[in-house]
Amino acid sequence: MTELLSRLTGDDNYFEDFAVGQRMRHARGTTVDEVENQLLTKLVMNTADAHFNEQRMAATPFGQRLVFGLITGSMVIGLTTQDTAENALAELGLDRLMFRAPVFHGDTLSAYTEVLETRDADRDDAGIVRFKHWGLKQDDTVVFEGEREVLVKRRSHWSAK
């Protein structure tokens, strides 16, 4: 690239910036509407019409279409992404994903994170950070939680590139 790579991303979220026990309340929230749950649920070939048949779901105890849990999870992780993986080289994995309450069209999600672990990687230009994420809806019900490991650039190797 003709300009410095590091000018495209923030300078407060390299590996060196994360410490075990660090907590974050992420700045942005997102309302989950049809763009998120209808478009993305169908984009990924989820065939379950509990997510897209309003008439059938109106006759169930839920009373309406359900947001696909992994779309809720993706949106919550998305709300954390600039703070946790803007300078990522790779996302390595997820664990203990729990979908604790139903989410419906019109609900608004917010996200919280705690750093569980930081450790060296098998390459010296990056380290691994393990996060715990929580997603809440507007009444503060926890609807999603999970852990995530990200390979994050080290400032020492990448900030001058």
Binding site: L40, L43, M45, E91, L92, L94, R96
Partner: protein, 162 residues
């Protein structure tokens, strides 16, 4: 009497009930899905995935990739999506998804396919009419390389509860 009488048309039912699963049973899921650059950029942008690797070709190349990397959350969601009819369409929510490992980057143009094995099944104590099933799913690219693996557990309706 409407003509034709639609009430006489047989239902083409989808999905499996709890009783249909046996330990060790394998499902090769339908369809596969080629993940294009538009899919990845659309998913990453809509899900607020502000990691430039997932939507900036030049940035991704400077990080050692041939171009943008498909958002791994799209890879996971697609592997799950392809498995839904076989595993979970017939009723019952997610209870959890266990260790998810992203083993190789997926690039635009790669074709993902998914395969699952039943790891365990048991009756639900809290929800009569339901069982709890855990599957291990593998997602592979067109070369047969594993790109994602995970376990997921769902509540699955029994036949009489459907």
């Amino acid at each position: 009497m409407p003509d034709p009488d639609f009430s006489t048309f047989p239902l083409r039912a989808k999905g499996h009930a709890y009783e249909d699963f046996a330990d060790g049973q394998v499902f090769d899921h339908h369809w596969g899905r080629t993940l294009g650059q538009g899919d990845s950029t659309l998913f990453a942008a809509t899900a607020l995935r502000f990691t430039p690797l997932y939507f900036n070709d030049e940035y991704a190349r400077a990080c050692g990739h041939p171009g943008i990397v498909v958002d791994p959350l799209l890879v996971l969601c697609t592997a799950v999506g392809l498995s839904v009819e076989d595993l979970s369409e017939a009723g019952g929510p997610f209870l959890g998804i266990g260790p998810v490992r992203f083993l190789l980057p997926v690039y635009p143009g790669d074709t993902l396919s998914a395969r699952s094995e039943v790891v365990s099944r048991r009756e639900s104590e809290k929800r009569p009419g339901f069982g709890i099933v855990t599957w291990r799913t593998e997602g592979r690219n067109q070369h047969g390389d594993l790109v994602v693996t995970y376990e997921r557990t769902n509540l699955v309706a029994k036949k009489r509860a459907r």
